[in-house]
């Protein structure tokens, strides 16, 4: 029980604490706030503004075109194709990545000799840069001298031209991306697997469930939150695919690997259509924004603000 006088003292001290906290708090956060305003909020707003104009970056005047850039997007064959390619890339790479990441996690979720080394190996492609990975895979995919086609030759198969074959170029990029990212998601799956209580498996085994049955009725449902999270993260990253395309195919052959960010880059920094490219940027932002909201929804349960 506090007497009135100590209560007042406590209150005063608390009040004083809050005031100094406010000063320190804003002091500590000032670089972050400046950064958010300058490099996040401003670009966001300026991008929206620019998307209503036609501007070649050099000219002193920007020509207002209203929603013209946006309506043009819907009739721009190249843009629509880039959206289709991005969707194809996203669907294939996310599904394959989930499949491989899950397989790796299930196989490594126990202790046996060498498990540490295996984990190190499977995670290692995450560490190297996308550019380095793309260059290495470029050489593996070389139609005449690359390992992949030489390997296929052993079985009498004439391999395709991979990055130079219109039908295989996007697949080349997908295969390389799955190799590069599966280890990252395998780590998330591993953490989720370790969160499944042992008693669930014991119950399943008491009920006489076999391996497959245990997987479909215990493991897979328990992994659902992780799978959703991985799916959404994968979609967000896939929509931003650029470096692989830049190094491996430059959007070709015949535009078959032209993706949204590559198209934006071309419009902005090769053709200097700043307004039009800003409209593409805003559309890309909206797509990613929706998926990020979904991601926060999934993560929310485990977050405490």
């Amino acid at each position: 029980m506090s007497t009135p006088s100590t209560l007042g003292l406590k209150k005063r001290r608390k009040h004083h604490q809050e005031r100094t906290d406010t000063i320190w708090g804003y002091f500590y956060l000032s670089p972050v706030l400046a950064w958010v305003a300058l490099f996040m909020l401003f670009p966001m707003l300026y991008m929206i503004y620019l998307s209503f104009f036609e501007w070649n970056f050099i000219s002193p005047v920007k020509k207002f075109v209203g929603l013209g850039n946006y309506t043009q997007l819907f009739t721009d064959q190249e843009f629509l194709e880039s959206v289709v390619h991005t969707l194809q890339f996203t669907a294939a790479s996310v599904l394959l990545t989930i499949l491989f990441a899950l397989g790796i996690a299930l196989a490594l979720n126990r202790s046996f000799r060498g498990v540490g080394i295996l984990r190190t190996i499977f995670y290692s492609p995450v560490v190297v840069s996308m550019i380095a990975a793309a260059l290495v895979w470029n050489s593996l995919f070389d139609p005449n001298f690359g390992t992949i086609n030489k390997f296929l030759q052993l079985f009498g198969i004439q391999g395709p031209g991979w990055v130079s074959d219109p039908d295989w170029a996007l697949w080349s990029i997908i295969i390389m991306t799955v190799w590069k990212t599966m280890g990252y998601y395998a780590v998330i799956y591993l953490a989720a697997l370790q969160g499944i209580p042992e008693s669930y498996y014991e119950a399943a085994s008491l009920d006489g469930a076999g391996r497959w049955r245990t997987f479909t009725s215990v493991t897979w449902p328990m992994l659902m939150p992780a799978t959703l999270l991985i799916g959404v993260m994968g979609v967000i990253n896939s929509f931003q695919v650029f470096a692989q395309v830049y190094v491996m195919t430059q959007g070709g052959p015949v535009g078959r690997t032209n993706v949204i960010v590559y198209y934006l880059y071309e419009r902005a920094f090769q053709f200097f259509q700043m307004g039009y490219a800003s409209a593409i940027g805003f559309v890309l932002f909206l797509i990613i924004f929706i998926f990020t909201l979904l991601q926060f929804k999934f993560v929310d349960r485990k977050l405490d603000f």
């Binding site: 708090g25 593996l140 390997f151 890309l284 990613i288």
Partner: protein
């Protein structure tokens, strides 16, 4: 029981083959870097160079200022990482421990910036840095990278899971916020700070899109951009290209093998805990 051991063996074999396949591109990169150009045209899939030599490395330095690229990458990565360490520890501390109006709004704002992909906003960012006169200067590659929301997140979460007693004792003993941060918090968040440093360094070292757009001349290019340029200029010279790729990967691999557990912690911390 017997059957389950049989399946364990099968899984084991499949996993080892998968690991070897995952490893293969690195082995290929390494072996090609030490091969001669003619061997590329003649050899089979052999991973052992017939005439082991350093010609590829010499050519890489001859064809492009690879040394300069590596220096640029190292310089901007180290400076940005130091900046991120400072801004994320102070910001994470403020967001986790201090009580003031607007704190939660600011946290949501920082979270919100993670929704803005820099690929989308590259045009206005470029225009802004152009106004500042920073294009093709270190400033363009360092200052926008000095704050990393992901790092703030890691520090804040780590602090939230840490007991407050020590700090409260320090405050009662008359330490102000800054003294508490320096003397009590800093020594206790080293694991989280290490995760931040490692992730930020790798992130900056491996970044491509931003330096590609913000630099114009060879002497300002980072190693990632340099590699991409080399690739477009010398499309078939695989020993030289792989030699450059090997050099570009050494720092991140060295860090990975030295601090592996922090990598895994960072992934799990960011994804599962939020």
């Amino acid at each position: 029981m017997k059957q389950s051991r049989f399946w364990s063996r099968i899984v084991y074999i499949v996993v080892v083959i998968g690991a070897l396949l995952t490893l293969y591109p690195y082995l290929w990169m390494l072996s090609t870097a030490f091969k001669t150009q003619p061997e590329i045209y003649t050899s089979t899939m052999s991973l052992i160079p017939k005439h082991f030599n350093l010609q590829g490395f010499a050519l890489a330095f001859h064809n492009a200022p690879v040394g300069r690229f590596l220096f640029n990458s190292m310089f901007i990565s180290v400076v940005s990482t130091l900046g991120v360490a400072l801004t994320s520890i102070t910001a994470g501390y403020a967001l986790a421990r201090l009580h003031f109006k607007g704190r939660d709004t600011i946290f949501l704002l920082v979270l919100g910036t993670m929704m803005i992909p820099h690929q989308a906003t590259i045009i206005p960012s470029y225009i802004l840095l152009n106004w500042f006169g920073w294009i093709n200067e270190y400033k363009a590659l360092i200052i926008p990278q000095m704050v990393y929301p992901f790092a703030i997140f890691i520090i804040r979460n780590f602090l939230l899971s840490m007991p407050r007693e020590l700090e409260e004792a320090a405050m009662i003993d008359g330490c102000n916020r800054n003294q508490t941060l320096m003397r009590i918090i800093l020594p206790n968040i080293l694991p989280a700070a290490a995760t931040v440093v490692i992730f930020t360094f790798s992130h900056n070292w491996n970044d491509f899109f931003w330096p590609l757009v913000m630099t114009k001349t060879d002497e300002m290019r980072t190693i990632q951009v340099g590699l991409a340029i080399l690739r477009t200029q010398f499309s078939m010279e695989w020993p030289m290209l792989m030699a450059a790729t090997v050099m570009s990967s050494i720092p991140v691999f060295a860090i990975y093998f030295a601090f592996q557990r922090f990598f895994v912690k960072g992934v799990v911390g960011s994804a599962v805990k939020g």
